[in-house]
């Protein structure tokens, strides 16, 4: 398996296993995720890719039956260490979901700033600056700058998803996790999200789960192929899609299964 070629590693995953009751969803996965790059996770349904993603910001712990083994280090910090609160991890590792989930009772402005306000920031000028900055980073500012107090749910599906990205970016995470961020969107909105991902990687480490291989090819630098809970192959995206080393990878990307 190829090693990432970037200079620094954002996430070091070692022998990670995740269990839900008796079911082992992730089996002994070791992987280094490069900083300020996009890593895509591909694989058929049920292969453990979403579970793997959620383990990176301890979201799987919301399920009382979930249990993990192994180690994940975020820029050298053990995120499962006893004295680390999950909430702290989730501030450093943001997440965007498949179905965009802006808070329905809040305005655009309130959605973006909710994380900041929960952290005690009240200064209006600061909140306004953060809002503009986050919405610009999410390529949404121009579309909403004149209606920041409109309800978030008045936005289109693609805009709502970018709002969720802005909300995640507002608390200045180091890593952004995206679980099939464009699968509920039309092609134009999908294309905007992909362009956005390529822009964001200059400043953030991004891990994206996708079932769309062309999307992985367009937007990512590295790709990991999961199958039945195992990491089958990991390497530069171009290599995975032009000349994979493993037969199972070849079979998957050529559509022979999954």
């Amino acid at each position: 398996m190829a090693e990432p070629q970037n200079n620094s590693t954002a996430l070091m995953v070692k022998n990670l296993s995740v269990f839900f009751g008796k079911n082992q969803a992730v089996k002994n996965v070791s992987l280094d995720i490069a900083a300020r790059a996009v890593t895509a996770i591909i694989g058929p349904s049920g292969c453990g890719k979403s579970t793997f993603l959620r383990a990176i910001n301890r979201m799987h712990e919301l399920n009382p039956e979930a249990r993990m083994e192994g180690e994940i280090k975020l820029f050298g910090d053990d995120i499962y260490s006893r004295n680390v609160e999950p909430v702290v991890v989730r501030r450093r590792v943001g997440m965007v979901f498949q179905k965009s989930n802006p808070f329905p009772t809040m305005s655009i402005f309130e959605n973006v700033t909710v994380g900041l306000r929960l952290n005690g920031i009240r200064n209006r000028k600061l909140l306004a600056e953060h809002t503009e900055q986050s919405l610009r980073m999410a390529a949404l500012w121009d579309e909403v700058k004149d209606r920041l107090h409109a309800p978030a749910i008045s936005l289109s599906g693609g805009q709502q998803q970018r709002l969720c990205i802005a909300r995640a970016l507002a608390v200045e995470p180091e890593v952004l996790l995206m679980d099939e961020p464009a699968s509920a969107l039309d092609p134009l909105a999908t294309s905007k999200i992909e362009d956005l991902i390529v822009q964001l990687k200059k400043d953030y480490t991004i891990v994206i789960v996708t079932h769309n291989m062309q999307q992985a090819a367009r937007a990512s630098d590295f790709t990991a192929f999961f199958y039945l809970g195992e990491l089958v192959e990991f390497g530069p995206t171009t290599k995975i899609f032009t000349s994979p080393s493993q037969k199972r990878t070849e079979d998957y990307v050529t559509g022979r299964f999954g």
Binding site: D195, Q199, R218, A219, T237, F241
Partner: protein, 229 residues
């Protein structure tokens, strides 16, 4: 916000144009070496051919990478046409190398006393090459179409030159070696014109999405340019 393809496609175009420039230079220098009996220049042409080989490899790699991203419409045609153009340019480089080799051999012997229309053939081939590349750069499929029938004139002139040389060899057997070199040069120029024609056909496909190869209807009125071209 820049589309994720644009940077890659721009880079591909630039690389192709640089490669084309090298190919044109190779042909020009090979002909100069021939006409001026310049051994050293001819040797440089041969050595520089690996630059064109390297370009072909790099462009093919870029094309494969771009294809994994599933380009569509004009982008898809550009990427596939780029591969074909680079192959034609590499072959043009090979023909230039052949001309340069014969130039080296001929420079070591006294010139043959024969009047040949080789300079005109060279001019025609070079003009066709330049016209094909200009059509690509300028998105001018009409110019590309106009180029295609000119290949017949080149074929005819090459044939005439071959006949003149054949006749000369019969009458002057001591010139056979040198005349054979000149035949190869003429053939290489004809091949360069063929490659220019191929590139022109690729340009028409790129900008009109029309495949005009092997139709024999090269003078048909052009279709409307394809959307996005």
């Amino acid at each position: 916000m820049e589309n994720y393809f644009e940077a890659g496609l721009d880079e591909l175009r630039q690389k192709l144009l640089t490669m084309a420039s090298h190919a044109e230079t190779a042909v020009n220098q090979a002909l100069q070496a021939l006409l001026q009996r310049d051994y050293d220049l001819a040797l440089r042409v041969k050595e520089n051919d690996r630059i064109l080989d390297q370009f072909e490899v790099e462009i093919d790699e870029m094309v494969i990478q771009l294809l994994t991203k599933a380009p569509l419409a004009t982008n898809l045609r550009l990427v596939t046409v780029a591969m074909k153009i680079s192959q034609n340019l590499e072959r043009i480089g090979d023909e230039a190398t052949k001309i340069a080799k014969r130039a080296r051999d001929l420079s070591q012997e006294p010139p043959v006393k024969i009047t040949l229309d080789l300079p005109r053939l060279a001019r025609m081939a070079l003009d066709m090459l330049k016209a094909a590349l200009d059509a690509f750069v300028n998105h001018d499929s009409a110019a590309a179409r106009a180029l295609v029938p000119r290949d017949k004139e080149v074929d005819a002139l090459n044939k005439e030159i071959h006949q003149t040389l054949a006749q000369h060899m019969v009458e002057n057997p001591d010139t056979i070696g040198r005349c054979l070199h000149l035949m190869v040069v003429s053939k290489s120029l004809e091949r360069i014109a063929d490659h220019a024609k191929n590139m022109a056909e690729d340009v028409v496909y790129l900008y009109e999405a029309q495949d005009i190869r092997h139709t024999g209807k090269n003078q048909a009125a052009p279709a409307a340019p394809a959307a996005g071209a």
